[in-house]
C-alpha cells in the first residue's frame, strides 16, 4: 500500500484493489440488500429455514399493506416535520450565521456556545421539554415536534453556514453596498446566490438529521404525528416481529435519504464533519 503517490502499478495490483474494494463493498451493503429483499419477499420466503437469498419475484404486497392500513402516514408525518423544521432552521440559522460571520456578533464565545448546544445529549433536555410540552398541550402536535427539530438543528445550520458565508469574498458585498443596495438587498442579491450550494447541502443534512431522529419523536408523539422511526418500532413484538412491515417501512424511510445524500455527495464530508474537514 502507499499513501497516494503513484508507485509501480501493475495490472495485478489494480486487480487486487478491485477484488478488495468489491469484497468490502459487498460486506457493507449486504445488510441493506437483505433489508430490501425482505420487503419484496412473500411470507413463505421470509420465514423459510434456511433463509432464501433473493425473492423469486419482486412482489409489492408488503408495501400495499402499509398503504392499506394507513401506516405510510408516518412517512408523510416525517416529511412534514423534517421539511418544515429544516426550512425554519435554515431561515433563522442562516441570518444568525451571517451576523456571526460578517459582524463577529458576540465574538467566538457566542459561536462556541451555539455549537456546544448541539453536544447536549437529547435525553438530558427532552425530559424537561416533555414536562413543558405537557403543560402547554404541545405533545403529539406538529407544532411541538417542528419547534423542537428547528431548535435542535439551529446550531448545526449556524455553524455550517457561518463557514460557507466566510468563504464568500467580502469585496462583492462591499461593492453592492457602495452601489446603493440596502443590507437586505445585499443579502438576497449577493450573499444567498453565492452561498447557494452551501445552503442546499446544509438544508439536506438538516433534513436528514430531523428525518432520522428517534428519541425526540418517541417521547413527544403519541398517535397523531408519529414519524416513521417510531412507527417502525411498533412492529417489533416480544414473540414475533412483523418482518415484512419492518423491511418495507425501513425501505420507505431510507430511500429519500439515499437520494438526497447521493445528490449531495460532494458536500458530504464537510456536512458530516461539522465543517471541520472540507473534503
Amino acid at each position: 500500500m502507499s499513501f497516494g503517490y503513484s508507485r509501480r502499478r501493475g495490472g495485478g495490483r489494480l486487480l487486487l484493489r478491485y477484488v478488495l474494494a468489491s469484497a468490502v463493498t459487498v460486506i457493507f451493503l449486504f445488510p441493506v440488500y437483505w433489508l430490501f429483499m425482505i420487503s419484496f419477499k412473500t411470507a413463505d420466503e421470509i420465514y423459510h429455514v434456511p433463509p432464501v437469498w433473493y425473492p423469486s419475484q419482486l412482489q409489492l404486497g408488503s408495501y400495499l399493506v402499509l398503504f392499506r392500513d394507513g401506516d405510510v402516514l408516518a412517512i408523510l408525518n416525517s416529511f412534514i416535520v423534517a421539511g418544515v423544521s429544516s426550512l425554519l432552521a435554515m431561515i433563522f440559522g442562516t441570518f444568525c450565521a451571517y451576523s456571526l460571520a460578517r459582524f463577529r456578533t458576540g465574538g467566538e464565545h457566542l459561536a462556541m456556545w451555539i455549537i456546544s448546544q448541539r453536544m447536549i445529549p437529547p435525553i438530558a433536555i427532552v425530559f424537561p421539554i416533555f414536562l413543558i410540552y405537557v403543560h402547554f398541550g404541545w405533545v403529539d402536535t406538529y407544532f411541538g415536534l417542528i419547534l423542537l427539530y428547528t431548535a435542535f438543528n439551529l446550531p448545526y445550520v449556524i455553524w455550517m453556514m457561518r463557514g460557507y458565508i466566510a468563504d464568500i469574498p467580502l469585496e462583492l458585498e462591499e461593492s453592492a453596498l457602495v452601489d446603493g443596495c440596502t443590507r437586505w438587498q445585499t443579502l438576497w442579491k449577493v450573499v444567498f446566490p453565492m452561498a447557494r450550494s452551501g445552503l442546499m447541502a446544509t438544508a439536506v443534512f438538516t433534513f436528514v438529521f430531523a428525518w432520522n431522529d428517534f428519541i425526540f419523536a418517541l417521547i413527544l408523539t403519541r398517535t397523531e404525528v408519529i414519524t416513521f422511526p417510531v412507527q417502525l418500532t411498533h412492529y417489533f413484538g416480544g414473540q414475533s416481529n412483523f418482518w415484512s412491515k419492518i423491511a418495507a417501512m425501513s425501505v420507505l424511510g431510507t430511500l429519500p435519504i439515499f437520494v438526497a445524500v447521493t445528490i449531495m455527495q460532494r458536500y458530504l464530508v464537510r456536512g458530516i464533519s461539522l465543517g471541520a474537514v472540507k473534503g
Binding site: 435525553i123 425530559f127 439551529l154 455527495q265 458530516i272 464533519s273
Partner: protein, 300 residues
C-alpha cells in the same frame, strides 16, 4: 411580498448594530427557549421531589443527588456506555483508516465504490438496528446461516438475547453503521497529505511504517481528533441502535445511560430523579468535551 421594500427601508435606516442583532435574535430566542430554559427548569426540578404518585415541589435539598451515588443500576449503565464506546470507537477508527488506504489511490470506478460505502452512515440508526435484528435472527436471519457454513455445523446463537453475544451484536451494528463515517473523513484527510513530503521520504528509502508514523499520522491527527470527538459524543448518548436491537436487555444488561434515563423518566415517572441523572450526564459530557478540546489544541 409588498411589505418587503418597507421593511428593507426600515432595516437600512437602522444602524449596522441594530441589523446584526436583529439577525441573530430569532435563532437565539429559539435556542434559549428550547435549549436553556429546559436546563434551568430541570435544575429546579432536580432539587424537588416529584414522583409519579406525588408532586412535592418543596425544596428537597441534595436528596436526588445523594441518590445518584447509591444507584448501582445508574453506574452500571454508565459502565455499559463506556464499554461500548471503548470497543466501538477504536474499531471504527481502524477499519475506517484501512478502508481509506484502500481507496486513496485513484482507480476507475472509485467514486461509485465510495458513494455506495457511505450509505450505512446516512440511514436512520433505528433502521440500522432493525436491519441487524433481522440479520441476527436465529431462525430466519442470514448471519447464523453464514456462520454455520464456515463452522461446518449448525450455529444457533440468540444474538440479541444471549448475554455472551448481545455486546458483540451491538458493536457489530454500531461499527457497521459508523465505519463509513470515519472512512470518509480519513479519506479526505489522507488525500490532503503533502505529496512532496511523501515523495521525498520514498526517495530517501523510508519504510512504510516510518512514513506512516512520522509524516502521515501527524498530518491527519487534527481530522482524527474531530472525528473521534464527534463519534465519541454520539456514542456516549447511544440509544436508537440498542433500542432496536435489545431494548436494553436481557434484563438491564445492555442498558446505556440514555436508556436508563428514559426508563426512570418515562416508564417509572421518577421526575425529579431523572432531572438529576440528566444533570449528571451533562456534567460528564462537559468534562469530556473540555478535556478533548484542550487536547486537540495541544496536538495543533
Amino acid at each position: 411580498m409588498n411589505t418587503r421594500p418597507a421593511l428593507a427601508q426600515r432595516i437600512s435606516v437602522a444602524s449596522d448594530r441594530g441589523f446584526k442583532y436583529l439577525m441573530i435574535a430569532p435563532a437565539i430566542l429559539i435556542l434559549l427557549l428550547v435549549g436553556i430554559f429546559p436546563l434551568v427548569y430541570s435544575l429546579v426540578v432536580s432539587f424537588q421531589n416529584i414522583t409519579m404518585t406525588e408532586v412535592d415541589t418543596s425544596f428537597a435539598g441534595a436528596l436526588n443527588y445523594v441518590q445518584l451515588f447509591k444507584d448501582s443500576r445508574l453506574w452500571e449503565s454508565l459502565l455499559h456506555t463506556a464499554l461500548i464506546t471503548m470497543v466501538a470507537l477504536p474499531l471504527e477508527l481502524v477499519f475506517g483508516f484501512l478502508l481509506a488506504q484502500l481507496f486513496l489511490e485513484r482507480f476507475p470506478g472509485r467514486q461509485i465504490f465510495v458513494a455506495l460505502l457511505v450509505l450505512p452512515t446516512v440511514i436512520s440508526p433505528i433502521v440500522a438496528g432493525a436491519t441487524w435484528r433481522l440479520m441476527f435472527d436465529v431462525r430466519f436471519g442470514p448471519i447464523g446461516q453464514i456462520l454455520s457454513f464456515f463452522a461446518g455445523e449448525p450455529v444457533n446463537i440468540l444474538w440479541t438475547v444471549n448475554p455472551s453475544f448481545v455486546y458483540p451484536a451491538i458493536v457489530v451494528c454500531e461499527v457497521w453503521q459508523w465505519t463509513p463515517f470515519m472512512f470518509l473523513l480519513l479519506l479526505a484527510a489522507l488525500s490532503n497529505v503533502d505529496q512532496s513530503q511523501l515523495e521525498a521520504a520514498e526517495i530517501d528509502g523510508a519504510s512504510y511504517w516510518r512514513v506512516l508514523r512520522q509524516i502521515v499520522i501527524p498530518a491527519i491527527t487534527p481530522v482524527i481528533a474531530v472525528a473521534v470527538l464527534i463519534r465519541g459524543l454520539d456514542l456516549v448518548r447511544i440509544f436508537d441502535i440498542i433500542w432496536a436491537l435489545t431494548e436494553g436487555g436481557p434484563g438491564s444488561m445492555t442498558e446505556t445511560i440514555s436508556l436508563y434515563a428514559y426508563v426512570i423518566g418515562f416508564v417509572q415517572f421518577d421526575t425529579s430523579y431523572t432531572a438529576a441523572v440528566a444533570f449528571l450526564v451533562i456534567v460528564i459530557l462537559t468534562a469530556i468535551v473540555t478535556i478533548a478540546l484542550r487536547r486537540m489544541e495541544m496536538v495543533r
